[in-house]
């Protein structure tokens, strides 16, 4: 198997290490001046594509991101990791938080029409909204087989064998191509871009387009009513002995 063309998605999200703060209007989280980076699951997705390219299974990797102008940096990172060219579907700054999985899946289905890839790899979910829907929606729209939450992907005889992480164990499935897969964290260990590759990435092309160009209506279908901080953990209490512990647990209705 060789010569596949792959479309990979990557999203710019608030960096995993940042302490999230809720906006004063309780309709979202603070993003201004906050460090952003590539969604970690998308790093797995790109890494997998790059490894397939190193194994000569893949010929070309196109990376696409929907988001504000800064998403270009995320695309650049993917290019530095080894993707060949980029597509930036730009949405106005501020509206990107409202970009929901349905809209993204529609955008990707248009990109598939345009790019005609043999395989689409996405991250299983983005760590900002944790929706875990885009892959499934996209596979449905395209009527392609899907392999979600992949932790191993093997290509042979025009098919992919995918090991999925499911509740209580692993499941191996075999899908025909073209297909859509979503990457889980254990799929691989994403590489860091090396400095020479960062410089090379500067010369790779990023094509710009908008949802309107693609004929996609991104009006949100869901309305966010309220965003709240998780409850603050209550301080613990020390008990002198086991019997007091049992008492306390009973008191609180845990026994």
């Amino acid at each position: 198997m060789s010569g596949l063309r792959v479309l990979v998605g990557c999203k710019r999200v608030i960096d995993y290490a940042v302490k999230i703060r809720v906006r004063p209007d309780s309709l979202g989280v603070v993003t201004d001046g906050v460090k952003h980076s590539m969604n970690p699951f998308d790093e797995n997705a790109i890494e997998e594509a790059v490894r397939m390219k190193q194994k000569k299974i893949v010929k070309e990797i196109v990376v696409a991101s929907c988001g504000p102008s800064q998403s270009q940096e995320t695309i650049r990172t993917a290019l530095a990791m080894g993707a060949d060219r980029g597509i930036h579907v730009e949405v106005p700054a501020g509206t990107d938080a409202d970009l929901q999985p349905l809209a993204v899946a529609k955008i990707f289905s248009k990109l598939v029409e345009k790019e005609k890839p043999d395989l689409v790899i996405l991250g299983k979910q983005a760590i900002d909204d944790d929706a875990n829907q885009t892959t499934q929606l996209l596979a449905g729209m395209l009527d392609w087989p899907q392999g979600t939450m992949a932790s191993v992907v093997n290509a042979a005889d025009g098919r992919l064998t995918i090991t999925r992480e499911i509740d209580g164990g692993l499941e191996d499935i075999s899908v025909s191509l073209p297909a859509v897969i979503s990457a889980d964290l254990r799929l691989n260990e994403p590489r860091y871009a090396t400095l020479p590759n960062i410089m090379k990435a500067k010369k790779k092309k990023i094509e710009k387009m908008t949802p309107e160009n693609l004929g996609v209506d991104i009006t949100p279908r869901l309305k966010i009513l309220n965003v709240v901080d998780p409850p603050v953990r209550q301080a613990g209490e020390k008990v002198p002995d086991v019997s007091t512990l049992m008492e306390k647990l009973k008191e609180k209705g845990h026994l």
Partner: protein
């Protein structure tokens, strides 16, 4: 006495030659493109100061931020500074990762396999080794900042094509071989010699070098040696220094075991010996007899890196100290509430700010093609190494006993930082260089003015602060600008008076020269923080003005004291008394006093 004879007597060129190791690269004409040199002339050279250089394009900024991310990941996940320190080595497989990451060819043009960073981009990336592991910084710096920098700066096309690709990839390492057992600061006194063979095809190289960073692991050596050169005018043959590119494979190159050191232990330091090593004539680097210039050009060109690197160190140390001060409770509250601690934290911040401002002004100006920056480079090197040391010292103090504990991880920084005040020109020698360079410029000015009277008139006209600046400076910075204008004027007059007073002998007045250099360094730092905070304010961020004003006010106070000391005959007497103690102790071969308990 006519000033003419006074200044001729004080032949500044000769005076400077005594400090050749650092002085020769200094051009012999009055330059008006250097802010630091202007200070001595009593001029506040606005055009050199404003605006603060902003040399990175948006695209370059994005590139640097991606590089920094890759670098942080490497230092956090792969490199273990404490282990490198304990093992006194960098693991072999980690060197491979560093090669893959591309850390060895940062400034090499792309056609030779490097990534062609500008000085400013290189400087920013260098902050990482400052933040995480100075030993790694020295290993990579000895390779590319001095090891093969000569090939980059002075190499022929053939030399570049032959050597740069494998150096840029890190396939082979380079080192810079100047220092010898009897020749450190006085670099022009090296004894290593290279003599052309009879066939005229090779130079035969003999001699030994000590304390060469990467000396034990390098394949390519930039070596400085004396070569017999015939003077075109006199026909006499004299030894002059020449630079060579030497390959280990030429044969006759050996090295000693890795030196045991106080710090930067993972960087290899070794003696290197050349025994009848045959170097093809094509491997002369630069001109025959022009080796000293090559050496100085390399060192000069590399100095900006230290200021940036140590910014990373200081910023990290400040965070550590603040973290402790905010969390450690003693007596009634956390340390943060006590003035003693606040003062230390403030001082650390201001030192870092002044250092960072000078470092990035220097490399920004280098990127803009500034023709003349050796004073600025020397000032930045001195200031960076001294202030990083001071910041580290205060960090240990704020952490108390914890600061002394190995596991807490500050003591390694103290050990690693100590060398920075010594190598690449000791701070002491560089101070003499700065002072003498300025004194030389003043000497020339005095000479051209003709008479003492005319000269003093010229100077006095500058005694009052010059006219307001052409540049529109933020109004909140006005007090700092006034201090800078006034202090530059007073400084120039004061140094001129000393030049007239001491004439040629000023070269021996090291206590005075040190004060002169200290003032010049402070003035340079004031200029840099004013420029930087003003440019930030122009862009809408006025927050740095507080830092700049605090630094300038404090520097102004210290300058006033130094200028007073320079002019005061009482202080001169005190200096003499102190020098006398030193001389007596030297004569006595030891401590001068007997034990007060009589045994």
């Amino acid at each position: 006495m006519s000033l003419r004879s006074a200044t001729l007597l004080y032949n500044s060129a000769k005076a400077l030659r005594a400090y050749q190791p650092v002085a020769v690269a200094c051009k012999r004409y009055l330059s008006d493109t250097s802010f630091a040199r202007g200070i001595f002339m009593g001029e506040l050279r606005e055009d050199e100061l404003f605006p603060y250089p902003d040399v990175l394009s948006e695209e370059q900024k994005e590139t640097v931020s991606m590089m920094m991310e890759a670098g942080h990941a490497f230092f956090q996940e792969t490199n273990d500074a404490a282990a490198n320190d304990a093992n006194e080595a960098i693991p072999e497989d980690q060197l491979d990762q560093m090669r893959a990451l591309g850390m060895y060819g940062l400034m090499v043009p792309e056609e030779y396999g490097g990534i062609a960073l500008t000085n400013t981009m290189y400087a920013k990336f260098g902050e990482l080794s400052g933040e995480y592991d100075l030993g790694i910084g020295i290993h990579t710096g000895a390779h590319q900042s001095i090891g093969y920098k000569g090939i980059l700066l002075e190499g022929t096309e053939e030399q570049k094509a032959k050597y740069l690709p494998s150096l840029a990839s890190g396939e082979v390492f380079a080192c810079f071989c100047l220092t010898e057992p009897s020749s450190g600061s006085d670099a022009s006194s090296i004894k290593t010699r290279a003599v052309l063979n009879e066939a005229g095809t090779h130079y035969v190289l003999n001699g030994s070098k000590i304390w060469i960073s990467n000396g034990g692991i390098a394949e390519i050596f930039t070596v400085f040696a004396q070569t017999p050169v015939v003077d075109a005018k006199t026909g006499e043959t004299k030894d002059k220094m020449t630079a060579f590119i030497v390959e280990r494979s030429f044969g006759g190159v050996n090295h000693g075991p890795p030196e045991k050191k106080m710090g930067i232990k993972c960087s290899n330091t070794a003696e290197v010996y050349f025994e009848n090593c045959e170097v093809p004539v094509d491997n002369v680097l630069g001109d025959i007899g022009g080796g000293f210039k090559v050496a100085m050009k390399i060192l000069n060109n590399g100095r900006f890196g230290m200021g940036a690197c140590l910014t990373g160190t200081m910023r990290m140390l400040i965070t550590r100290a603040i973290d402790h001060a905010n969390n450690r409770k003693q007596f009634v509250s956390n340390l943060r509430e006590y003035q003693g601690i606040q003062q230390k934290i403030a001082r650390m911040n201001l030192l870092c700010y002044a250092n960072e401002s000078m470092a990035y002004m220097l490399c920004g100006n280098m990127d803009k093609g500034a023709p003349e920056y050796q004073l600025e480079a020397a000032i930045s090197k001195i200031f960076a190494s001294q202030s990083a040391w001071d910041v580290c010292d205060e960090t240990v103090q704020i952490l108390g006993g914890a600061g002394f504990m190995k596991d807490v991880g500050i003591e390694r920084w103290m050990r690693d930082l100590r060398i920075f005040r010594i190598f690449e020109g000791t701070n002491d020698i560089l101070k003499l260089f700065i002072a003498l360079n300025g004194v030389q410029d003043i000497g020339k000015k005095l000479k051209s003015a003709g008479t003492v009277g005319a000269m003093m008139g010229l100077m006095k006209s500058k005694f009052l602060p010059a006219a307001p600046l052409k540049t529109k400076v933020h109004s909140d910075l006005a007090p700092s600008v006034d201090m800078l204008r006034g202090d530059i004027a007073k400084f120039s007059v004061s140094v001129s008076e000393q030049v007239i007073k001491h004439k040629k002998k000023i070269i021996e007045q090291q206590v005075l020269l040190n004060r002169i250099a200290d003032v010049a360094i402070l003035l340079q730092s004031m200029g840099a923080v004013i420029s930087r905070s003003n440019t930030a304010a122009d862009k809408g961020d006025t927050s740095e003005i507080t830092l700049a004003n605090a630094w300038c006010a404090d520097s102004h106070r210290r300058i006033s004291v130094l200028l007073e000391e320079m002019a005061s005959s009482d202080v001169s007497k005190i200096d003499l008394a102190i020098l006398e103690v030193g001389r007596k102790a030297l004569d006595a071969n030891g401590y001068l006093a007997k034990s007060p308990v009589g045994v």
